[in-house]
């Protein structure tokens, strides 16, 4: 890296906040995607005001700069090109204020999601976006990826809770999008432009987040079904009886098997699908809705229904859903993972196609996810443990994404495009749309210093580690 740039950055941040030793750079070479590239430097801004200054220096010397939250992303978004610098935003972790009167919170981007949730809950408030990585991922990363989560079916995704942003542009200018007002039609909606922009358009240094009152009560139910179609049909039936659960998660037969083994607590042998359903709201309404959920599940032929009467019983029911990843990882450490979504009514069709893909490619394939909002997670490995069969996995991956697209679905539901789905982005976006996006990118970041190699096809990116 340019020695002058290093000197300037070191003067700005202090030498201890600029790391160029290989030992440091190696520890910032990856995220949770398996993508890897060793950056030239790692920077630790200590105040928000550091960020525009850093960006100006990066721009002046044309050094790529990649913001990073917790590096829990699954698409390589936080991996800088090897000619670039990583900006560790997790140091900016102040909750600036929680404002119960206006139902909002102002935070720095490095605040860990679960810490914000806990802080607002202490005030009787609620921040609904709930990615499974919430105990370590950051708000900045959630915003940049437009993270989803378990409660999306009722409450939506991160986008629905971002009211305003402070963003540092590639010019070093600081802009402010949105406001503290729920209703706001002053100019273009730039907030939404930055939500889900994967660190390619600007660096988020502050966010105004919308909060809700904490629901008074919630009830949880776990139902086992003898067939996947019966479970899948339960979803529209619930909507029809006017129940919108806050959580509607499902797992397939493979998940049931591995989780039973992992937790050493058996589900019935012939269970083909599990639904985990939660309702929340006023206590009286919740009890009534839970009754309805129970009734519908029964009607759909659920073989067993468990309900939680207390928080600790709720934890027990959630344990199986939360353990899927761990259980799969104990079976084989590395799985390919796809994150797709389809219109909710197409879920059964999508699951059926996965069954065919599993058989025709000789895979161990597990399907689970947020059935209420059409988001499926598909984890797969070759059935034969010794096979290191990347062409076969590549074909399977192709077929999975294709299946989603054929059902009018999306190749990325909540994990983003990053560097790993760039080639397929055109499957979802027509040429003029993609071109407009590239034009926007070019307009905001003409020299391409922000997170190059992400989202758009054809640019350099980190290598995919085996």
């Amino acid at each position: 890296m340019n020695p002058e740039a290093i000197r300037l950055l070191s003067d700005l941040l202090g030498p201890s906040n600029l790391k160029t030793a290989l030992e440091d750079r190696i520890t910032y070479a990856f995220d949770a995607s398996g993508t890897r590239a060793i950056p030239e430097a790692v920077l630790f801004p200590r105040t928000r005001e550091d960020v525009p200054e850093i960006v100006k220096i990066a721009a002046r010397f044309g050094i790529p700069i990649t913001a990073r939250g917790a590096g829990s992303g699954l698409t390589g978004g936080a991996v800088a090109p090897s000619s670039g610098m990583v900006l560790d935003m997790s140091c900016l972790d102040r909750i600036i204020r929680i404002d119960p009167g206006n139902l909002l919170a102002e935070v720095e981007p490095g605040v860990v999601t679960a810490e914000l949730q806990a802080a607002v809950e202490r005030e009787g408030l609620f921040y609904p976006p709930d990615p499974a990585s919430g105990s370590f991922s950051t708000i900045g990363g959630n915003i940049a990826e437009n993270a989803g989560g378990m409660r999306a079916v009722k409450y939506g995704v991160t986008r629905n809770y971002v009211m305003g942003l402070e963003v540092v542009l590639a010019s070093g200018e600081v802009i402010h999008t949105g406001s503290k007002c729920l209703k706001d039609v002053v100019g273009y909606d730039l907030t939404t432009l930055f939500v889900g922009s994967e660190g390619t358009l600007g660096i988020i240094t502050r966010a105004i987040l919308r909060l809700l009152p904490l629901p008074e009560a919630r009830r949880t139910l776990l139902a086992l079904f003898p067939s996947m179609s019966k479970a899948a049909e339960t979803v529209p039936r619930l909507f029809k009886s006017r129940v919108v659960p806050s959580t509607l998660e499902f797992m397939d037969r493979v998940c049931i098997e591995v989780v039973s083994k992992y937790l050493e607590s058996g589900f019935p042998e012939n269970a083909e699908a599990v639904l985990l359903i939660e309702v929340d709201g006023r206590r009286s309404a919740v009890n009534e809705e839970m009754g309805e959920v129970h009734r519908v599940c029964k009607e759909q032929g659920a073989m067993e229904i468990q309900t939680a009467a207390s928080e600790s019983e709720r934890d027990v029911l959630w344990r199986s859903r939360r353990s899927i990843h761990n259980a799969l990882r104990r079976l084989r450490p590395r799985w390919e993972e796809e994150d797709v979504s389809v219109p909710i009514a197409s879920i059964p069709a999508m699951i059926e196609t996965m069954e065919q893909i599993r058989r025709s490619h000789g895979l161990l394939l597990a399907c689970f996810g947020h059935v209420g909002d059409g988001n499926l997670h598909i984890s797969y490995v070759p059935k034969d443990e010794t096979a290191t069969d990347s062409p076969r996995l590549g074909r399977a991956r192709h077929d999975i994404l294709r299946a989603a697209v054929d059902l009018e679905g999306r190749i990325a539901a909540e994990h983003g495009i990053g560097s790993i789905k760039r080639k397929e982005i055109g499957w979802n976006l027509d040429q003029p749309t993609l071109h407009l996006m590239e034009t926007v990118k070019h307009l905001l970041d003409p020299d391409g210093i922000f997170n190059p190699g992400k989202i758009f096809p054809g640019e350099e990116a980190g290598s995919h580690a085996s």
């Binding site: 190696i26 520890t27 829990s72 997790s90 990585s133 370590f136 450490p333 590395r334």
Partner: protein
């Protein structure tokens, strides 16, 4: 829940080559960021398990040479097992880190003070006794007593000892003697072997006494083998598998000799128990003679609270409790007891029969920052980690904090003294002995 993976592969000391498959288990998910006390203070990836594993990986791949900077990153670990317990992939982080430390020691040598410490501890009883004896005679010259406590403060600048460090007072006479000691119980219904561990033997001799008195009054005879040695935890943590292995053999021999053979082993020290239960088997895995003995001994080893609750039974203990402790009592879960041995309920069960009010502190299982010699080598971070623990203790409103690890007692006492707090940190067995009217 101990991870199946931690003992499956071949024994420790195999070098980085043996770690490949274990390193591959790490998916770099970042989950360990949410629990690592060191990362929590320092905030850089190289201080969290994921980063350390990436460094070990790079070292193994020849991408990174063995450097002091790398060593320092790997030294910044308490081996508190928080990451290991949390990790969805079951990565045996502590095993990888100790193995990498060993590798670096081979390449870079070991810093002199550590080298001396491991050698001393590995030399067995005679030398250790002499060293502690000299220490206990010297301490009036080096330290002054802090009134009202069992603590000392230094008089002069000393290497490794900073101004605020609370130094525990060495007992004038260690608990063990060269010869085997036998404490028969009247109407004995069981006989156990007592593995004391160093701190209980040389510093907390009262705790050792309480173990014997409590067991004897419950009708259990106690054998204290004379030739037991340091459990080897400090050497193992430093990656000195040679020294740790020697100590393991010494102890296995001592615990399986004469009338001790085949008996249950009780341990009042979280780390000692963890070594006997989990680490010795790993260290001795490739040893034809001691491998089996280690596995067998592990099956018969119990933390003192575990033994009392599960083998003696609360119903047999309660009638011996003469008076209840006044005021609320709280409990700190030592890393090597809680995550290392999965023991959380047993100490609480004992406390609940000796006190009127049990006050759970917030996050009783977070590390106190002691981490063997981490508290000395990384004083500043250790103090910051301790600060959080002290806050939870004080917030609980308890007048006594009970725990099952002499290292934690020393660390927490230091933190409490620093705050000018009158809260007492002590071993669970001491409280039981007190309530039974034995001390």
């Amino acid at each position: 829940m101990p991870h199946e993976n931690s003992v499956k592969e071949s024994g420790q000391g195999q070098g980085l080559a043996g770690l490949g498959a274990l390193l591959l288990k790490c998916t770099k998910c970042g989950e360990c960021r949410s629990v690592c006390p060191v990362f929590n203070e320092l905030g850089e990836e190289k201080y969290v398990a994921r980063g350390k594993l990436a460094l070990v990986d790079a070292l193994g791949a020849g991408e990174l040479p063995p450097t002091d900077a790398l060593r320092e990153a790997l030294e910044q670990c308490l081996l508190c097992l928080s990451c290991e317990a949390r990790c969805g992939s079951g990565v045996p982080v502590s095993r990888i880190i100790t193995e990498a430390r060993a590798e670096l020691a081979r390449d870079l040598g070991r810093p002199l003070p550590k080298r001396m410490l491991y050698r001393l501890l590995a030399s067995g009883r005679g030398m250790v006794n002499l060293a502690f004896r000299t220490g206990s005679l010297l301490q009036p010259f080096l330290f002054r007593r802090i009134p009202g406590t069992s603590g000392l403060k230094r008089r002069f600048p000393l290497p490794l000892v900073d101004r605020d460090l609370h130094v525990p007072r060495l007992a004038l006479r260690p608990f063990r003697s060269r010869e085997e000691r036998f404490f028969p119980a009247p109407d004995s219904r069981d006989t156990v072997v007592f593995f004391t561990g160093c701190l209980t033997n040389f510093i907390h001799t009262q705790t050792a006494g309480s173990v014997v008195k409590v067991l004897n009054s419950l009708g259990i005879s106690v054998i204290v083998p004379g030739d037991q040695a340091c459990c080897g935890a400090p050497a193992h943590a430093g990656g000195d598998f040679g020294a740790a292995g020697n100590l393991a053999r010494m102890n296995l021999k001592a615990l399986n000799r004469g009338r001790a053979e085949g008996k249950k082993v009780v341990v009042p020290c979280a780390s000692g128990g963890y070594m006997l239960k989990s680490v010795y088997s790993l260290l001795m895995q490739d040893d034809p003679v001691y491998g089996e003995m280690a596995a067998d001994t592990a099956q018969r080893t119990f933390d003192i609270s575990e033994y009392l609750v599960n083998h003696v039974g609360l119903g047999n203990i309660s009638p011996h409790v003469k008076s209840h402790l006044s005021g609320p009592v709280t409990c700190h879960d030592p890393c090597h007891l809680n995550r290392g041995q999965g023991i959380r309920e047993e100490p609480r069960a004992l406390l609940k029969i000796v006190c009127d009010e049990f006050a759970e502190m917030e996050d009783p299982g977070t590390c106190c920052g002691s981490g063997g010699i981490y508290g000395i080598t990384h004083r500043d971070t250790s103090k910051r980690i301790l600060e959080k623990k002290i806050r939870s203790i004080l917030d609980s409103g308890a007048g006594i904090v009970s725990t099952g690890c002499p290292g934690c007692i020393i660390q927490i006492t230091g933190g409490l003294l620093q705050r000018g707090s009158m809260v007492e940190a002590t071993h669970t067995i001491q409280l039981l002995a007190r309530a039974m009217g034995l001390v």
